[in-house]
C-alpha cells in the first residue's frame, strides 16, 4: 500500500511541475470533447477503429521514444521489470493519444451515408 501511495504522490508532484502544459492539454481535450458532443449525429463508433489504430501506433512509437527522451535506450532494458515499466508507460502514451484522437476524429468526420441528410426516410 505504501508504494501505491508513494506512486500517487510522485504522479502528483510530477503534475505540479507541468501545470501549464496539463492545463493547456485539458483545455484542448475539453474543446475536442465539446466539439464532438455538440456535433449532431456524432459518429463515435465509426471513429473508434481509426482512433485505436492511432493510439496503438503512438504506443508502439513510445516504446522507442520513452527511453530516448529519458536519456537511455531500448538496449538498456535489463530484465522484465524494465520491460514492464516501459510497456506500461508506452500504453499510457497510447491511451493519451487515443483520448485526444477519438473526439477529434468524431468531430471532423463527415456525415454517414444513412443519415437524414440524404433527404430519404430512415
Amino acid at each position: 500500500m505504501y508504494e501505491i501511495w508513494l506512486g500517487l504522490n510522485i504522479v502528483f508532484e510530477l503534475a505540479l511541475t507541468a501545470l501549464p502544459w496539463l492545463g493547456g492539454a485539458a483545455a484542448v481535450w475539453i474543446a475536442l470533447m465539446s466539439a464532438a458532443l455538440l456535433r449532431r449525429h456524432a459518429h463515435w463508433r465509426e471513429a473508434l477503429p481509426a482512433s485505436l489504430v492511432i493510439g496503438a501506433t503512438f504506443a508502439a512509437l513510445a516504446v522507442w521514444l520513452v527511453p530516448f527522451v529519458t536519456r537511455s535506450s531500448i538496449s538498456e532494458m535489463g530484465y522484465w521489470v524494465d520491460w514492464a515499466n516501459l510497456i506500461g508507460l508506452s500504453v499510457a502514451v497510447g491511451g493519451l493519444a487515443f483520448a485526444f484522437v477519438w473526439p477529434l476524429l468524431t468531430a471532423v468526420s463527415g456525415p454517414r451515408q444513412d443519415t437524414p441528410t440524404s433527404g430519404q426516410p430512415t
Partner: protein, 451 residues
C-alpha cells in the same frame, strides 16, 4: 520540562480521512492539478492537542519533512525551525549535475515554498545546544528554549582534513568534488567534460569516515568511465580508485559486485589509501597508508570526497556520542531503533547527523521522518516511542547514462528491495528512470510530509 499536554487524544481516523480526501483529489489530476495543489497544502485535522514548543534544528529534507508532519499532526504546538538557508538544494541530484545529465537549476528550490505557514522560521544557524537547560543557542546569540528538540542539522564536510584543499578551486586544474553544493557539482561537470576530451590520469577517492550518499563516489567513477568511453578516450585514460578503507561500500554484496564491474572496466582499486594532501596547482595528491607511508601521485582529474563529521554545534555539545565508534565524528547519540536521544529523552535525531550504522541519504529520511514524528508525538502524549527503524536506506547507483542499480539495504547490510520483483544488482532502466525522473518528485512529497 514544562510541557503541558492538553486533552491528549491520539486517533488515526482524521489522518485516514485526510488521505482518502487526497486520493480522491489525486484521481482528478489531469483536470484539476492547480486546485488539487491548493487543497492538499491545507493541514489535516490535528490528532494530538498540546502546547509544547518543538524546536527543529536544520531545514534540510529532514527538518522540513518533520516540520510539515508535526504542524499537521499536532494541534496547538509551537513549532520553530532554525536555519539560515533560503535555498533548499536537492542533494541527490548533485551526481546528475556533476555528470552532465541535469542542468544545475533543477536541484534548487526555495525553503519558503516547502515550510508550512504555521511554523516559526528563525533565520539563523544553531551554534550550540544546552540540553540540560533545554536550550538551543544560535550563531546570532539567541537562546531558544524548547520542550522537545529535533536535531536535523545535517553533517559537516571536513575538507580541512586534506592539506592544501581549497573548495573554491573546484573546477580548476582538474579538481572536482560533487559534495559541496550545486555550483561545485556544475564545476565538476565542466572539469569532467574537459578531461574527457583530452584524457589522462584520473584519481577517485573515498575517505574512512561515515559518508552521506556513500554511493556517490562510486557513481562518479562509473560515470567518468562512461563519459570517457563516449568521447572515445577510454583507452588513452587511466581511472584509479583510492579507498581509505579495505572496501568501497559497506554492504558486501554491493561491494563485491562493484569491484567485479570495475575489474571489467579496468578501474584498479587501491585499498587503505587515504587522501591527506593535495597540491592543486601542481596537480599532485598525497595518500597515506595505515602504516604511515605517504605516496604522492600526479593526476589530470581528481574527485575529492571529504571526510565527514557532525557540525561543531552538535560535536561540541553534550548531545554527541561520548564514546564508542561514533564519538570521534561527534555524531548525535540516538537509539538506532527509535532515533530518540539516549540520554535526553525530549531530543530526537533525524537524517545525516544521527550516529547510527549506515543510512545518510534522502531515502533514510523518507522512511525515518514519519517514524520520528510518530515517536515524538507518542512522547508528547505521555507514552513511549511506538515505532522502530530498521535503518532502511537506498542508493540508485548510476552505472552509465541510461542504466543504474537500485540498491536498498538496512542497518545490517541486508538487501531489502521495496518491491520483491526488483533485482538490486541487475543493470536496470527502471532504476535509471527512478533516479533520472521519479526520485525528485518523491523527495518533494517527503519534504511536504505526505509520504
Amino acid at each position: 520540562m514544562t510541557t503541558r499536554i492538553q486533552d491528549a487524544t491520539v486517533t488515526a481516523a482524521p489522518t485516514d480521512i485526510g488521505r482518502r480526501r487526497f486520493m480522491l483529489r489525486a484521481s482528478a489530476l489531469p483536470l484539476g492539478a492547480a486546485a488539487l495543489s491548493a487543497a492538499t497544502s491545507r493541514p489535516a485535522r490535528a490528532a494530538v492537542k498540546t502546547s509544547a514548543h518543538i524546536v527543529i534544528a536544520g531545514s534540510g529534507l529532514g527538518g522540513v519533512a518533520i516540520a510539515n508532519r508535526l504542524s499537521r499532526e499536532l494541534d496547538g504546538a509551537k513549532i520553530t525551525i532554525v536555519d539560515r538557508k533560503e535555498i533548499h538544494n536537492y542533494q541527490p541530484g548533485y551526481t546528475l549535475v556533476a555528470t552532465g545529465i541535469w542542468p544545475v537549476a533543477k536541484v534548487s528550490d526555495r525553503n519558503a515554498d516547502l515550510l508550512p505557514g504555521r511554523v516559526e522560521w528563525v533565520k539563523d544557524m544553531a551554534a550550540g545546544f544546552d540540553p540540560d537547560a533545554n536550550t538551543l543557542v544560535t550563531e546570532g546569540g539567541q537562546r531558544i528554549r524548547y520542550d522537545y528538540l529535533v536535531v536535523a542539522t545535517g553533517l559537516h564536510l571536513d575538507f580541512a582534513q586534506i592539506d592544501g584543499m581549497d573548495v573554491s578551486a573546484i573546477g580548476a586544474n582538474g579538481l572536482t568534488s560533487v559534495y559541496p553544493g550545486p555550483q561545485a557539482a556544475q564545476a565538476t561537470w565542466l572539469a569532467m567534460d574537459a578531461f574527457r576530451r583530452q584524457g589522462g590520469e584520473a584519481l577517485m577517492t573515498l575517505p574512512a569516515t561515515p559518508l552521506k550518499c556513500a554511493g556517490a563516489p562510486l557513481k562518479m567513477t562509473f560515470m567518468l568511465v562512461d563519459r570517457l568511453r563516449e568521447a572515445g578516450m577510454r583507452a588513452s585514460s587511466k581511472v584509479g580508485f583510492h579507498s581509505a578503507l579495505d572496501n568501497i561500500f559497506s554492504v558486501k554484496p554491493v561491494n563485491d559486485d562493484v569491484l567485479r564491474r570495475w575489474a571489467d572496466l579496468d578501474v584498479p582499486v587501491t585499498f587503505n589509501s587515504k587522501l591527506v594532501g593535495i597540491d592543486i596547482g601542481a596537480r599532485r595528491a598525497t595518500f597515506l597508508t595505515p602504516e604511515g607511508e605517504r605516496n604522492e601521485l600526479g593526476y589530470d582529474f581528481i574527485h575529492v570526497v571529504p571526510p565527514m563529521r557532525a557540525p561543531d554545534a552538535v560535536k561540541n555539545s553534550p548531545l554527541a556520542w561520548q564514546d564508542g565508534p561514533f564519538a570521534a565524528g561527534g555524531w548525535l547519540e540516538v537509539d538506532k531503533d527509535t532515533l530518540r536521544h539516549r540520554r535526553y529523552p525530549n531530543v530526537f535525531g533525524l537524517g545525516d547527523i544521527n550516529g547510527t550504522p549506515r543510512g545518510k541519504t534522502a531515502a533514510t529520511i523518507k522512511k525515518s521522518a514519519p517514524l520520528v514524528a510518530r515517536n515524538l508525538i507518542d512522547v508528547i502524549a505521555g507514552g513511549e516511542p511506538s515505532q522502530r527503524f530498521d535503518g532502511y536506506t537506498s542508493c540508485p547507483l548510476l552505472l552509465r547514462e541510461g542504466s543504474a542499480l537500485l540498491v536498498e539495504f538496512d542497518y545490517e547490510g541486508r538487501l531489502v528491495p521495496s518491491l520483491p520483483m526488483i533485482e538490486p544488482l541487475q543493470d536496470s532502466y527502471f532504476a535509471w528512470l527512478m533516479k533520472y525522473r521519479l526520485l525528485k518528485p518523491a523527495y518533494m512529497a517527503v519534504a511536504k510530509g505526505r509520504v
